[in-house]
């Protein structure tokens, strides 16, 4: 009686692997860990769409900004701007650099917040809609761009490039090269390779941990939501099945509430680290 359905239904692990496969230009799961010929369309679509949404919101707040009594929305945008501006002032002492870095930090904070918040949508909602729209039950779609390592590392490498830019801008190319070879251990020629190696490790560690931290948190969060969804997905009219459904609701609720904290915190941490790393680029060792 249940044979046909049972045969076609994916196993839990298949289901999760399916959920974790990107919609990309090759139409299947990327086989090697690094493949520069592959592009994840879903990550790009959601990150660009949410990025535009972010700057549109900010622009709405800024469009009619008045020095008189602000509306609630303007007040909200002002609170964010003030918060980021204060953090930036504490970390970056050059007003010239703050003119770009502070707005960037604000955008990054909101953008990452919205990308993380995609995690709060029901895990099956957008993928199922997409499969229906494509009329293909195996169409892939992942909706949380920050759970894609390419996206988070892309942003952290952006921060790294900005660090290089400000290092050169503030210290001059020669000054920075001098620092690369003489800091942190000293200017004795014997120490030059050690210093350079240390600097390379430092930059690499900063950048990779910056991107990995956000990715790891969001990926794990997404995975937990999928596991919770499996319980509800397995519900039947039986004691066991009803228990599963109840636990799904309770666990999903608890994890979603906790996740509100995580998505905000991770967005804030990413923003703060962006400011701190660029601030460090302004200071000599």
């Amino acid at each position: 009686m249940t044979s046909e359905h049972a045969v076609n239904a994916p196993t839990p692990s298949e289901n999760i692997v399916h959920h974790l496969t990107h919609l990309n230009n090759i139409g299947e799961k990327q086989s090697s860990i690094v493949d520069w010929s592959v592009v994840n369309y879903d990550t790009l679509f959601f990150s660009v769409a949410l990025g535009l949404f972010t700057v549109f919101l900010l622009w709405l707040g800024a469009r009619k900004a008045t020095s008189g009594i602000p509306g609630r929305f303007q007040g909200c945008v002002e609170i964010l701007v003030e918060m980021v501006a204060n953090q930036a002032k504490g970390v970056i002492h050059s007003p010239e650099s703050r003119r770009f870095v502070a707005p960037l930090a604000l955008t990054v904070f909101l953008w990452i917040f919205f990308m993380n918040a995609m995690d709060l949508l029901p895990v099956d909602l957008l993928p199922r809609l997409w499969q229906t729209a494509m009329n293909d039950h195996h169409a892939y779609l992942r909706v949380v761009p920050t759970a894609d390592l390419s996206a988070t590392l892309g942003m952290s490498i952006g921060v790294l490039l900005l660090c290089f830019f400000y290092n050169i801008k503030i210290k001059g190319a020669a000054g920075w090269v001098h620092e690369l070879f003489t800091a942190p251990f000293g200017s004795h020629p014997v120490l030059w390779p050690v210093n350079l190696l240390m600097q390379i490790i430092e930059f690499a560690a900063k950048t990779i941990s910056h991107g990995m931290r956000l990715f790891g948190n969001m990926y794990a969060g997404e995975l937990v939501f999928m596991l919770i969804a499996l319980m509800g997905g397995a519900w039947t009219v039986s004691t066991m099945g009803v228990t599963l459904a109840v636990v799904h609701v309770l666990a999903g609720l608890a994890w979603a509430i906790f996740h509100i904290l995580i998505i905000t915190l991770q967005a804030f941490i990413f923003m703060m680290l962006t400011l701190v790393y660029i601030g460090q680029a302004h200071e000599g060792h």
Partner: protein
């Protein structure tokens, strides 16, 4: 956990969004915040100034009130002085008038008494002469006895 070319696109989007915010979002908000801060600072300064102005005005009002009270006292004192002066003058004048009137009345009374005395003296003289005529049963010649009469008159004085 895969890495692919999405990374480069994400990097570009990252920088472009930052540039957009720098160009179109941050400056108007920053400007509004700065202007509002300035407005509030100005408002507070104006309030402080108004407060000190008020204190100054109150002090001046008290001073003016004190001066007015003082000058009112002066005016009252001088008015009282004038009034008592006037009363004094009037009293003196009244006394004067009374004294004059009394003097005139006395003089008149004296004159009247003198006239009455004179008249009485004449009549007494006449009476005496008439008496003497009767006594002497003869007529005394007034011309012949004028000296005698005058002497008599003198004695009666």
């Amino acid at each position: 956990m895969n890495l692919n070319a999405t990374l480069f696109f994400q990097l570009v989007v990252f920088v472009m969004l930052g540039l957009f915010t720098m160009k179109f979002v941050w400056p108007p908000i920053e400007k509004a915040l700065d202007e509002r801060a300035k407005k509030i600072a100005d408002g507070l300064a104006a309030a402080d100034k108004a407060k000190s102005d008020l204190a100054l005005a109150e002090k001046r009002a008290v001073e003016e009130l004190r001066k007015a009270r003082e000058s009112a006292g002066d005016v009252r004192a001088s008015a009282e002085r004038n009034a008592s002066q006037l009363v004094e003058d009037a009293r003196a004048e009244a006394a004067n008038v009374v004294a004059q009137a009394r003097q005139a009345a006395e003089a008149e009374a004296d004159a009247a008494a003198q006239r009455a005395k004179d008249e009485l003296r004449d009549q007494v003289a006449m009476l005496a002469i008439a008496g003497a005529e009767k006594i002497l049963r003869r007529e005394i010649n007034p011309q012949a006895h004028a000296e005698l009469l005058a002497n008599l008159k003198q004695e009666l004085r």
